[in-house]
Amino acid sequence: MKILIKNGFVVDPSQKLEKKLDLLIENGKIIKLLSKINRSKGAKVIDAKNCVVCPGLIDIHTHLREPGHEEEETIATGTRAAAAGGITTVFCMPNTHPVIDNQTTVEFILLKAKKEGVVNVFPVGSITKGILGEELSEIGELKKAGVVGVTDDGEPVMNSKIMRRALEYSKMFNLPVISHCEDKNLSKDGVINEGLISTLLGLRGIPSQSEDIMVIRDIILSSLAGGKLHITHISTKKSVEYIRRAKKEGVNVTCDTAPHYFVLTENYIKGKKLEHVYDTNAKMKPPLRTQEDVDAIIEGLKDGTIDCIASDHAPHTLEEKSKEFDLAPFGIIGLETLLPLSVTFLYKKNKMSLLKLISKFTTNPSKIFNLKCGCLKEGFVADVTIFNPEEEFLVKKFVSKSCNSPFLGWKLKGKIKYTICNGKIVYST
């Protein structure tokens, strides 16, 4: 299949490219990137006028739920949701049932993704068997099977010795250890950020310190053990400060955040509208924090302390999310709003250039996780996203099997027009 993308504004951070170029794709590869490609025989022509053409986005934090919770999401539906969000590569988290702590489960996911998926699926293995925090998983076997990193996401590795060993052991495979930073003793039973809002709503609080303390612990462990530490979904001002300092001191640490941590604050749950008060679609871990934290997260994204933006797509059924706030599960979906929220709240609000913004989903994750995607260089795999940063649209339904999003009904900019994965159009409006 041949695709010719014309008149688009190409933004590729890997080549520091920001100009009007035409792009020719053939046999799954990028063949030509030139200021003008008139015609190519048999090619499907896409007119990308007014649109940005960028490398297909990489979402390093997704829960596809398969195997185990197919009522929430499957590889088939999750990858289609990703495609609808302009994402061509997703990392799926290991807290499935069974847990991705063995070769068989990795192979099952890769096979399913090949058969039923529409975008690239890269499994992430668990740090410990069963995500119980007790015994290391067979990380070497997992690597051989194809994982791109290890994490116990959803759960922290509370035992510092095990975290140390994980960082040390994974070094020989050059596998990043992705850390979900939460001191479980401090966050115990908490459901929202601890502060005035939790006090007023009578909900148990999760202090920001439960994150901060583990961020600093992991940084300290990383200087003891070495290894590649990647801290995921950071939400607090102090996390940003500690990571910024660690990076300056030369610690091998990277991190990501999710759009809700720079778009929403805990005030949402207190909402002026009745439907927002105790809205379980604003219940996630880490919880929504304060404006001060939001400002610090944006600052961290601007100065490069925060390397990536990930969705932390966490689908849950309507039944589960309709429960009382304390009983509803943590998490919101995010694949389809990842780019639009980032465009609307970072680029359109003049917080950063498109080049920098796109690097958070392309070159940066590609570098951290040693991927062969995330660029538009000739000869590379043709993962391409085309979106219109100026076009406003209403978020009214989702491709995902679940709809637990606080952004339903929002007007956002950055409409996805086409998603091309391995040279095939996997989504178009």
């Binding site: 009578g202 909900l203 439907e275 105790y278 009382e324 009983l327």
Partner: protein
């Protein structure tokens, strides 16, 4: 007529949502209802033909009885639904219960639930007026109102009074409703308890009207009102205080402490009491105690609540 202009709320979810004027209106409306109680026939036909569902997910004697009596004295029909808390997790979800009740077209649903925000789930899904009879540790607005009614009745005012709330503020819905109501009416509130039981940033609710004092003896000095909260034994397990014994020593209201307070200090307790722990019998049964009057006033206040909420619907 003036009532209808002033009162526009459909639900009573928490006193946080109510203005000073609305709170005053409820208190004023309760007065004539209380006067009814001295008559031999205590019933008025005001809410004849209306139905009130009492949906209690938590054990409650006084609140449920009080609402039931209030509804009956207004001639409304009452239906009791007592749900075992343990069945919440495995049984019908609250939202399904809400939809069932919606189909039954009840005018009011009075809900008590152990999770904060449960009345809001009903309010979002049901067209009935929702009255929060206590949710988790969020609010217990009718209790707050009856406490304030009692204080106002005894002291002739609320503004300018010094009110101490003692105990587990962190897990108390009674404390939160009192805090909103009292500060809106201009009282000075002193929250007293160990730092582990004082919720974060609570002073921000009304910085100039709220003080925090860990020492009960200091707190009750010059106090006009002391509202004593029930100790919840299970909190000891959460390392919030070392022992019931120590709690009782530090925060138990006894005769000796009472003797050092103002002569006319009012002692309130939302009940049920742990006599000998947070309050001694001597104090509970003293002349300063208005604990039994709180119960009587509770009915009048709840009649006022039902009456005002129903007037909005017309």
């Amino acid at each position: 007529m003036t009532n209808k202009i002033l009162f526009t709320k459909k639900h009573l979810l928490g006193l946080e949502d109510f203005t000073r004027e609305e709170i005053k209106l409820i208190l004023d409306t309760a007065k004539p209802f209380k006067n009814l109680f001295t008559r031999s026939i205590k019933k008025v036909p005001t809410l004849r033909g209306r139905s009130v569902v009492l949906l209690f997910y938590e054990a409650s004697t006084r609140t449920r009885t009080s609402f039931e009596l209030a509804a009956k004295r207004l001639s409304a029909d009452t239906i009791n639904i007592a749900v075992n808390v343990s069945s919440v997790k495995k049984g019908e979800s609250l939202i399904d219960t809400a939809k069932t009740l919606e189909s039954m077209k009840s005018d009011f649903i009075v809900i008590r639930h152990s999770y904060s925000g449960s009345p809001h789930i009903l309010a979002k899904n049901v067209s009935s007026s929702i009255i929060n009879a206590g949710d988790g540790f969020h609010e217990h607005p009718s209790q707050g109102l009856l406490d304030i009614y009692t204080v106002n009745e005894k002291k002739g005012r609320v503004a300018g009074l010094k009110v101490v709330i003692v105990g587990d503020i962190l897990h108390s819905r009674v404390a939160r409703s009192n805090l909103w109501g009292l500060t809106k009416l201009g009282a000075k509130v002193i929250l007293c308890g160990p730092p582990t039981l004082i919720p974060k940033d609570v002073q921000k609710v009304s910085p100039s009207n709220i003080d925090i004092e860990y020492n009960l003896d200091k707190a009750i000095k010059d106090a006009d009102v002391v509202n004593i909260l029930r100790v919840q034994f299970e909190r000891q397990m959460e390392h919030l205080f070392p022992s019931i014994r120590e709690y009782s020593l530090l925060y138990g209201m006894n005769k000796e402490r009472l003797s050092r307070a103002k002569n006319d200090v009012l002692i309130l307790h939302p009940g049920p009491m742990n006599r000998g722990l947070e309050i001694t019998s001597e104090v509970a049964d003293s002349l300063n105690s208005v604990i039994n009057e709180q119960v009587t006033n509770g009915i009048a206040v709840r009649m006022a609540i039902l009456y005002l909420l129903s007037s909005v619907k017309e």
